[in-house]
């Protein structure tokens, strides 16, 4: 039976200013239980500020936030137990072992003794931590440390796992490992994942995406809907010919010639299909592709996202 979709996080008219800087300026959004929610934006867009307020690290200037139906202003401690957070930079004690780090953090949530050992066992199985538990964090690789960070965030069985740019600065292999962990959690552990990122391909994996720019929400929808609204689909044809270029010019289609293919912009999948069928004799090697999140971001914000830095 399908689960009734309910909002596990509700943010209404959130504002957070630092002097004259409007880090977050009147934003509202909801996160549904069990979904993978992505906050997409450049550095300074207000992503980390928002999650710091949700996690109870920073205070807000105005607005309301409820977590699992509870207002964070009135029940800070209660809402804190519902949220686990993985910071962009590992915030664990590097001199201590993974076991000591996890034990301390569990203790701060009131989890001790057998309850802690049982929870540790679960997480060790889920994140393959057993060989790492007795190792100090300073002797671990970036990927191993990230797994401990995730375990630390999950030690108290939170309903929401917030990850602040969890893959920034990690090598591709470690990024794949982190995503494999997240997908496992999403599939089996009924945890809502709230992710901030500036990697487009990560945002495209989410169930719902909010694009932030200079403290404002500039777009929010399902990734596919965003692509339909803000990006063009396109055809890639790998066997170029003069005849094909002549046809494209004749039909006044927008196209770009690359070294080994031609990229043709189409309004939607239907138009793309029609073009391919109508001119199937002109090419053999062809792809019909959806627009990218990069294009969505460019069209929504007027900025290009290149690994966290923007070019307008």
């Amino acid at each position: 039976m399908d689960k009734i979709e309910r909002n596990i996080i509700e943010v209404k008219h959130l504002k957070k200013y630092f002097g004259q800087v409007k880090a977050v300026d009147d934003i509202s959004f909801c996160v549904k239980e069990g979904e993978l929610f992505a906050f997409l934006g450049l550095n300074g867009a207000g992503k980390s500020t928002t999650i710091n307020v949700i996690a109870g690290i920073s205070t807000k200037d105005s607005g309301t936030i409820s977590i699992d139906g509870i207002d964070i202003d009135n029940h800070t401690d209660e809402t804190k137990t519902k949220v686990g957070i993985v910071f962009q930079n590992s915030c664990l004690d590097k001199k201590l072992t993974a076991y000591d780090n996890l034990r301390l953090k569990a203790a701060l949530y009131g989890i001790k003794g057998k309850a802690f050992e049982d929870r540790l066992e679960e997480l060790a199985d889920l994140l393959e931590l057993k060989p790492l538990l007795k190792k100090s964090l300073e002797k671990m690789s970036g990927g191993q440390r990230r797994r401990i960070d995730i375990a630390r965030a999950l030690i108290h069985k939170p309903k929401i796992l917030i990850l602040d740019e969890p893959t920034t600065g990690l090598d591709p292999q470690t990024r794949i490992m982190v995503w494999s962990c997240l997908n496992t959690l999403k599939d089996h552990k009924e945890v809502t994942i709230f992710l901030t990122t500036h990697y487009m391909e990560e945002a495209a994996n989410a169930d719902f995406v909010v694009i932030l720019d200079s403290g404002h929400i500039v777009a929010d929808d399902l990734p596919n809907h965003l692509k339909n609204k803000y990006a063009h689909d396109f055809i890639k044809i790998y066997d170029k010919s003069d005849e094909l270029i002549r046809v494209l010019k004749e039909e006044k289609m927008k196209f770009e010639e690359k070294d080994d293919f031609i990229r043709i912009e189409v309004k939607n999948v239907e138009q793309g299909k029609e073009f391919i069928i109508a001119h199937a004799d002109l090419f053999k090697d062809v792809e019909l592709l959806k627009g990218t999140m990069d294009e969505v971001f460019l069209n929504v914000t007027g900025k290009v996202l290149t690994g966290g830095s923007a070019n307008e």
Binding site: H13, N52, A55, G56, I57, T59, K60, D61, S62, G63, T64, D73, T76, D77, K80, T81, V83, I85, F87, N89, C91, L92, D93, K95, L96, D100, L104, K105, A107, L108, Y109, G110, R152, H156
Partner: protein
């Protein structure tokens, strides 16, 4: 057990563990005692011995054990007088490191009160500083037992009491000052500055009586000075009495003044009780300041939340 108390104990344990695991911080905090030891071995010992011999009339023979007992007492009192403060500053850099590395945020996302976290830094700093100072004291007693032991049971008790009191003063001062520092660079610079300066200011490297009048007057306004005087008094009291058997009373009075075992505050000779009172009252004032700072910070956060709620 009450959750706040339980959290406090865990955080204290964590802070202490971090200090002793971080060999760099641990060794840096031992720089001042190490410098003193080196200076003593290289020239201070012979300098003090020749200074003492200056008071010995011709024909009077003083046992080298008495002279060694006196100089050893002076060395150990110097080490302790400076260590109680400098070790407190060095070991407390964990406050700054935690803030700079985001560990404070990671702790505050758990249901731990900010006041409990602040208190844990103070208490753990007091415990670590006391452990190291008592270890130095133990080694000092060992050395004195070998070269010349003239301490009574009462002297030992008063030395231990003074160690505990001066350490409390140092810990409070370090915790208050370092709670305002946000960068590790500033924290390290401060620790280094305190380590190098305090040795001079407390008269560890040379007796306060050797400074110019204006500097002496300035030093007399520093409460730690009175802790130094108490150490001096109890560490060399027995050896001075032994010297008194063979030396004239004027010579003993001169030794007491020139080797800082007693102090005058604008013409009034201060008793040991007054010295204890000055250090004790200062520690109480610092404790009150610490509590006020913690409460003001906590209330500022509550007030901000209340303002945000009112704006809604």
């Amino acid at each position: 057990m009450n959750k706040n108390l339980y959290d406090l104990l865990y955080l204290i344990k964590r802070n202490i563990k971090m200090y002793f695991k971080d060999k760099g911080t641990f060794l840096i905090s031992l720089i001042t005692p190490a410098i003193l030891l080196i200076l003593f071995i290289t020239f201070l010992r012979s300098l003090y011995t020749s200074s003492l011999e200056h008071y010995i009339p011709e024909g009077v023979i003083i046992s080298s054990r008495v002279l060694n007992g006196f100089t050893a007492g002076w060395l150990v009192s110097s080490i302790l007088a400076s260590s109680c403060i400098t070790i407190a500053f060095c070991s407390n850099t964990i406050i700054i490191a935690d803030r700079a590395n985001g560990i404070v945020d990671d702790i505050l996302v758990t249901p731990v009160k900010k006041t409990v976290l602040s208190l844990s830094y103070l208490i753990s700093n007091y415990i670590t500083t006391t452990i190291v100072c008592l270890a130095c004291l133990g080694l000092g007693f060992g050395y004195m037992a070998i070269v010349g032991w003239y301490l009574s049971f009462n002297d030992v008790i008063m030395i231990i009491l003074n160690t505990l009191l001066l350490t409390l003063f140092g810990s409070l001062l370090a915790t208050i000052i370092e709670s305002f520092i946000k960068s590790m660079g500033v924290g390290t610079a401060l620790s280094t500055l305190v380590s190098s300066m305090y040795g001079f200011l407390c008269g560890a490297y040379m007796p306060i009586s050797q400074f110019s009048d204006s500097i002496q007057n300035f030093i007399k306004f520093l409460p730690g000075t009175y802790g130094t005087i108490l150490f001096r008094y109890y560490f060399v009291r027995g050896a001075t009495e032994a010297l008194g058997k063979d030396l004239p009373a004027e010579a003993i009075d001169s030794i007491r003044v020139n080797f800082d075992t007693e102090i005058e505050f604008f013409g009034n000779k201060l008793s040991n009780g007054t010295c204890f009172l000055i250090v004790g009252v200062t520690a109480l004032v610092l404790l009150a300041a610490f509590i006020a700072i913690v409460l003001i910070r906590d209330r500022a956060k509550v007030k901000k939340t209340e303002v945000a709620v009112a704006k809604n």
